[in-house]
Amino acid sequence: MMTTPSLGWQRPFVIAALACAAGVSPPVAAEQRLVPAQSEIAFTSRQMGVSVQGRFRIFEAQIVFDPQQPEAGRIALRVDLASAAIGTAETEAELAKPGWFDTRRYPQATFTSATVRPAGPGRFEVIGKLTLKGSSRDLVVPVALQRAGELTLASGSFPIRRLDFRIGDGDWSDPSLVADEVLVRFKLALTGVAGP
């Protein structure tokens, strides 16, 4: 017999709804937005000593970041691996194959931050996990923030080891042919970042 309305699993939702109705919102910073047209994620690999530049045309980010409270920051990036642009059409077709990015099975690479810590004026270190082609590695990514009018540019670079992610396996795994280390460079244009 139910005489009193019970709040079981619905309880948190009801409380949240009541809180919203009462105009009480939790003190979370407004989410910052990525401006893709002015952002860039690029990489440099070396083939027999030759630097080969590539970049990703399509990526997205969810960013909550306040320079005054870096520890509360949360950064999640998703990169569309099939959008890699690297020199010739022949090389791009090669890059999508199973030995390289295997974009059919692994269409996206993701980066999810665990913590953000300050590293000097306008500088931060984002500690997080990069997942690429089914393998994950922890990374420490240095980021420099720079004001550019209404935008804030977050830029930096970090090396990864392609063989950690089985990028270029089989015959291509020889690092004298394609170097193991790949330098990733990024410049993310953000709106809504609070000034320093």
Binding site: Q47, M48, G49, V50, S51, V52, Q53, G87, T88, E90, T91, E94, D171, W172, D174, L177
Partner: protein, 179 residues
């Protein structure tokens, strides 16, 4: 007994045969590698081909400097048109010794795969990385290479004709060391 012919200098003979082998090898590798599907072997061949091309360019510079500062032996007996054809062929070949590798170097730069000599020394790009430009340069590199191959064939045929038809012992000028 034929009169002993004046010969090319030791350096000229060495450069002639070294470049003959390098040019023939690079031409054959170039023909072969462009038909290959993408593979580590193809990447290696492309880089070796580029390194050979830059070496040919450097040796050709040395060769041209030597040629301009050292008098070659005089012409063997032949008709006026043959003499003109021989001189024109040599001038065109010298031009192509530079044109073929320079067009290849430019194609590499334009294609976004600049030349790093022997995997160690990055060479400057004298054209920007630009796909459309790369496609425009590519047929020139190939065209110059085929033109050079044609002239080399003509040069070889003419030398053999002198040696075995005219029997003027022309090959000795470019074969044995001078006394």
């Amino acid at each position: 007994m034929p009169v002993p012919t004046l010969r090319y200098s030791r350096v000229a003979i060495a450069l002639h045969w070294l470049l003959a082998v390098a040019l023939a090898g690079s031409f054959c590798v170039g023909l072969y590698m462009s038909e290959l599907p993408n593979s580590p072997f193809k990447l290696r061949l492309f880089n070796w081909h580029k390194w050979a091309g830059i070496s040919i360019l450097a040796l050709s510079t040395l060769r041209l400097a030597w040629r301009l500062t050292h008098r070659p032996p005089g012409d063997v007996a032949m008709s006026g048109w043959q003499r003109n054809a021989a001189h024109l062929t040599h001038r065109l070949m010298y031009g192509l010794f530079f044109a073929v590798p320079l067009a290849g170097w430019a194609y590499s730069s334009a294609a976004g795969f600049p030349v790093v000599l022997f995997g160690l020394w990055p060479l400057p790009d004298f054209v920007p990385a630009d796909k459309a430009l790369a496609e425009a340069i590519k047929p020139w590199h190939a065209g110059f290479a085929f033109a050079l191959a044609g002239l080399v064939a003509l040069h070889v045929a003419a030398a053999l004709k002198h040696q075995f038809v005219d029997r003027d012992d022309l090959l000795a000028r470019m074969w044995s060391a001078p006394r």
